[in-house]
Symmetry: C2
Subunit: 398 residues, 2 copies
């Protein structure tokens, strides 16, 4: 009597959620301080002070009917104008308010964009492992087909030859996510240039634009002075999906945007279809108070130094023990090679030591685990003993 | 290159929006005080004081990581528990947190519910004119078929004989909206009883549950001591879709819920499919700060006395002039019979006097116009002269 597909989706908890819930149960048994939960990517650094200050200023000084009222479906004009000005100053581009569509976060940005672009069920979107598992769900929701490119486990960049083979006349777009969840890798300039060259060549071959959907919620979470390039300056047919969940530590508030630059082929039609898709999916407007808050906090982020400390602590600690870790340049995940081929079993073994790490099978990259380091640094320190025991377990077994 | 359907939806501004934009242009020409804009259903009464107070208290006293963090997909447990307690106290029912799924407002409640229930494209949902135009969009998004029951223009209740004829083996559910946008009518107890009897009979006949989706954003906006009945107590297979947009004047904040009571057949499966549909459509969780705000404002509303004053002023004024008005018991719309058969032309004529009223054709009820009275009462007073001139125009023409 209900949609089978939706029922399955609702019944199947993600591996991440399963581990998180297990951690809460286990904490009740062995004590919270003895469970090392690296499962969830929930920011643990508070929003910057400007968020609190902006909320209070808006509430105290602006008419509540205006603050809490509907904005236009594409978002408040002043907010979008401020966003364009900020982006122009940061990335030396030439955007206006009309290039932005405010959304309820990255998931909404993606579902709306995919629904706007999908013409029929033969359309294909390519995703590159390791990828955020919900991409599969969102592409299916749009009624299109998912095509997966296996991970490049040497550098965690993109295997261009495999991507090239996968592009065909049905390909509508490619989703990239850099800094990447779960690998923590930032795509290099070389990768973006090769990707752009390939997509241009293939667009010509099939005589149609191939859209690059750049999912960038971790854009500002980068280390060692790395800058995430502005993707549309490498490849014109780029649609940017952004969220403030991570950069401003506001994941529950559901605020983000879609950016369709003028250089995108059929930009006006795409923007119009995005307005239609937002309407169709029931997104009336992005939350109004937080639209105004992000305008006031433009360019600010939470204190990333704390994630950086965690990153170093965890990367150095695990590397020293002999774990093979992908060096994370961004986001707040450490991607670690499983000590056996079956990463699900490896994650199960880790639970013996109350160590909760996520097997990357659902990210399209079996043989690895994701260790979220948006956690208390003291927990990282306490966890090393458990990581050592896990290592020893495999030594013994050999 | 983009979805034709989404493009059309994005390109076609609603009649309401067209009128609203026209009003803004016209205000620049003739002066704001000389334009009588009754087009939009945007609350003009500020949110009650408890909203401001709750926001400030939460921001000042609770850890920002908690306030702005992800809640579980179905909503914060404490919020849902508080909501269940409030509903139990108000409607003498027996609900728990597990019956509620928090959403980004009524549109999200509806898109999620419809997507959860729709099994395939042969499924039909019945809507009853006059209806909120977006119902058509939301049902199509779920991939189901829309069936319209023409308006009962005598009482604006439901033509049960027509509804009975429209139910068949494909019928999945019926959407009702009481207090009604655009008619302002509240379904009587008699209507609900007859509706329940009919649906029970037909469920038996087709040997399957027929789901009643009760869209209730105006539940608290009622006058003369009228109470909106708790629909599940009349018909067990009722799913309630609610929004705080109108009752707390928070339309831009996107906060509402879906209620699936235990008495609904397959309640667990429906709730699970709702979780799946929310995930599929990209709704990660309802905005977290406002989940906590509504918990603190449970049972409060904006000052409805102001809408009531407007209602009387407008209803009495127009009735005295000879307009045929439907007596509004709830919401903030006055439904008025057009002075000619073509209500689009009538609305065009009204524009001659800078009077912006919405033809109800898109609400499935041609021959009527919707006059929103969530406006400044002074504007209502100033508009009477224009309403009189519009009346006189038709006198002259006769």
């Amino acid at each position: 009597m209900v949609s089978k597909e939706m029922h399955e989706l609702g019944a199947k908890r993600s591996v991440i959620r399963e581990l998180f819930e297990y951690g809460k149960q286990q904490a009740a048994v062995v004590g919270k301080e003895n469970v090392y939960d690296f499962s969830i990517g929930n920011p643990t650094i508070p929003a910057p002070k400007c968020v609190e200050e902006s909320i209070i200023e808006l509430i105290k000084t602006v008419d509540p009917v205006e603050i809490h009222g509907y904005t236009s479906a594409q978002g408040d004009f002043e907010v979008r104008k401020g966003l364009a000005d900020y982006m122009n100053g940061t990335f030396n581009c030439n955007l206006g308010a009309e290039n932005f569509y405010m959304t309820c976060g990255a998931a909404a940005s993606l579902t709306i964009t995919l629904k706007a672009l999908t013409v029929d069920s033969t359309d294909e979107f390519i995703i590159i492992a390791p990828y955020f598992p919900e991409y599969q769900v969102f592409i299916k929701n749009a009624g299109a087909k998912v095509v997966v490119i296996p991970a490049d486990t040497k550098s965690f960049q993109i295997q261009m030859n495999l991507l090239e083979e996968s592009i065909n006349s049905h390909t509508k777009g490619i989703i990239i996510n850099s800094p990447n969840n779960p690998s923590g890798v930032v795509y290099s300039e070389n990768t973006l240039k090769s990707l752009a060259d390939l997509l241009k060549k293939k667009s010509k071959e099939y005589n149609k634009p191939l859209y690059l959907i750049s999912d960038e919620p971790y854009r500002e979470i980068v280390y060692d002075g790395i800058k995430v390039p502005y993707v549309p300056s490498y490849y014109e047919n780029t649609i940017v999906c952004y969220s403030y969940s991570k950069s401003l530590s506001l994941p529950g508030e559901r605020i983000g945007y879609i950016l369709v630059p003028d250089c995108v082929e059929n930009d006006q039609d795409i923007y119009t279809a995005i307005c239609g898709a937002g309407r169709s999916l029931g997104y009336v407007c992005a939350p109004s108070l937080f639209q105004k808050v992000i305008l006031k906090c433009m360019g600010k982020t939470s204190d990333m130094a704390l994630y950086d400390d965690n990153r170093k602590l965890l990367y150095d600690g695990l590397s020293k023990m002999g774990y093979q870790c992908v060096r994370p340049d961004g986001a707040f995940y450490l991607f670690v090679k499983s000590l056996e081929g079956d990463s699900v079993k490896f994650s199960e073994n880790a639970k013996k030591y109350n160590l909760l790490i996520v097997p990357a099978d659902d990210f399209g990259c079996p043989g690895y685990v994701r260790v979220s380091y948006c956690v208390d640094p003291e927990m990282i320190k306490r966890s090393f003993d458990a990581f050592q025991k896990l290592k020893d377990l495999y030594k013994t077994e050999k």
